[in-house]
């Protein structure tokens, strides 16, 4: 009986926690759109974030893109070889990269690198009273800290996704040419012939949403951080986990909408 009561109490507490968190996120969401719709947009801060998210992520992105493209080439090439269809490697890779792999992996990498950094930086400001100081100086933290970061991530994620696609295709191309002896001309011509603009657009749509989602979530976890160093650590970890889960959920929903309703 005692353990049953404890279980009910536990469930109740969790429900209240989720309710409180949802209300807090809803308030944040409203606040974000309030400042997003009226500005100020603080362009120097946006450019600083574009540089941070874009330029400073290039190395890891190029490395991951080429590695994933090459591994993908080996896997696809191995399967296609059974049917002596290695020449189609380029098509399979470019379509998959455009529609799915590039936007998702780029967003995952950015959530891990830039998103965690956003959460940690804002959380540190929160626990050191810097956010309170900002509010006392009549500067809204969502307007000053969140809006420039979200704008920058929403712009930069599709650009980095495009780069990822290019690097990934080069990786597969290298594997196709050197390991599977695919003809260079056939690889490129078939890839170009069968990869449509709509595949690229589908990927870019996802990238825009992914960039918006991971940055918005990461900043939120920073703003609700509590305590000292432990609070900053927790906020960062939670920001990354929540971002990854949200990215996967968004990926499913967008893919479904694109295929069922838009016909891409």
């Amino acid at each position: 009986m005692q353990s049953a009561i404890q279980f009910v109490e536990y469930v109740g507490r969790q429900v209240l926690r989720v309710k409180h968190k949802s209300e807090s996120f809803y308030d944040y969401w409203k606040e974000f759109w309030y400042w997003m719709s009226r500005g100020p947009y603080r362009l120097p801060l946006v450019f600083k974030q574009l540089e941070f998210i874009g330029n400073q992520s290039l190395f890891v992105l190029i490395l991951s893109g080429s590695a994933i493209g090459a591994v993908f080439g080996i896997e696809i090439g191995g399967i296609f070889k059974i049917f002596t269809a290695q020449n189609l490697m380029g098509i399979a890779t470019s379509i998959t990269l455009c529609r799915e792999i590039a936007p998702l992996i780029t967003a995952v990498l950015l959530a891990g690198r830039a998103g965690s950094s956003m959460a940690a930086e804002i959380a540190t400001m929160k626990v050191n009273e810097q956010i309170d100081a900002m509010e006392t100086m009549a500067v809204n933290p969502v307007s000053y800290l969140v809006v420039p970061r979200v704008i920058a991530a929403t712009i930069m994620t599709p650009l980095l996704t495009a780069l990822f696609i290019l690097i990934g295709v080069i990786g597969t191309y290298g594997v196709g040419i050197f390991l599977f002896q695919v003809d260079k001309g056939i690889f490129i011509s078939k890839m170009l012939a069968f990869t449509n603009t709509s595949d690229l657009v589908a990927g870019m749509e996802k990238a825009v949403v992914f960039g918006f989602v991971f940055s918005l979530i990461s900043c939120w976890y920073g703003l609700i951080a509590k305590g000292g160093a432990k609070g900053v650590g927790l906020a960062t970890t939670r920001a990354v986990i929540a971002s990854l889960l949200a990215l996967l959920a968004c990926d499913f929903v967008i893919t479904y909408i694109q295929i069922e309703f838009v016909g891409r």
Binding site: E121, E129, Q130, D132, A133, T136, M137, A138, V139
Partner: protein, 249 residues
């Protein structure tokens, strides 16, 4: 004038402010003193509008702060400067950028005029030519002074100091206390409110003192009245004795 009118504030079951009422005179230095955890910081947060009372009202110049909407509270906060306990400087910015921050956000001054103002306030707090250093390169006392310069930059009508000398050596503490008085004297329209449990500083620097105990004002008056009072609560607090009417949880 700043006035609290029967302000109550609780966090969960803990009552922090219990029908708190007082008035703070304009253009004076008022110290709010009391035990740690006695509601001093909560009081200051009500003045800034970071917290709203459960009941009662907070007035600044006859304006009920707790009834202002988001936009009005933002406009109101431009008249307030605050020195935080840990200075709360933005560590990604230099000293100059920290002091420039409120000027950039809230004034229409040209950049050269803003930079002149930055130099002016840094000189006022005894830190000229420090613009290019980062907060991590400063001592605790220097950080506080930069925090004070930042708060003063926009010439606020009300300056709030949250335990400005906590954790500092006696020399730096005295320097900060002198600075508080100097800043108030040099800014004729400024009202200064200092949250502290430094009695020596309160008696030396305050025009008025408000003593808070258990969420209520236990005594309010001039430093001289506090020196001569026979109120057992105040005497116990001043003497630092554990035995007495003050309760310890």
């Amino acid at each position: 004038m700043i006035a609290f009118e029967n302000v109550c504030k609780s966090f969960g079951s803990k009552v922090v402010l219990n029908k708190m009422s007082f008035e703070i005179e304009k253009n004076k230095v008022t110290f709010i003193i009391g035990r740690s955890g006695g509601g001093k910081s909560v009081t200051i947060k009500h003045i800034i509008g970071l917290l709203k009372p459960d009941s009662g009202r907070v007035f600044v110049d006859d304006q009920p702060i707790n009834e202002l909407d988001k936009r009005a509270i933002s406009t109101y906060r431009r008249k307030i400067g605050m020195l935080f306990q840990q200075a709360a400087l933005f560590d990604s910015m230099t000293v100059g950028e920290n002091v420039l921050f409120p000027l950039k956000e809230h004034t229409s001054l040209s950049l050269p005029a803003m930079l002149i103002r930055v130099e002016e306030v840094l000189t006022q707090v005894g830190l000229p030519n420090m613009q290019h250093r980062y907060p991590s390169e400063l001592s605790t006392g220097e950080k506080k002074r930069v925090g004070l310069a930042r708060a003063m930059a926009t010439q606020p009508m009300v300056m709030l100091y949250d335990e400005p000398t906590t954790g500092m050596d006696p020399l730096i503490s005295e320097m900060i206390d002198e600075l508080i008085v100097k800043v108030n004297e040099e800014s004729p329209n400024m009202t200064s409110i200092v949250i502290s449990h430094d009695l020596k500083a309160a008696l030396a620097s305050a025009d008025n003192i408000i003593f808070i105990n258990e969420g209520k004002v236990a005594m309010q008056g001039k430093p001289q009245e506090f020196r001569t009072t026979k109120d057992p609560l105040v005497r116990q607090f001043f003497s630092g004795r554990v035995e007495g009417p003050m309760k310890f949880d």
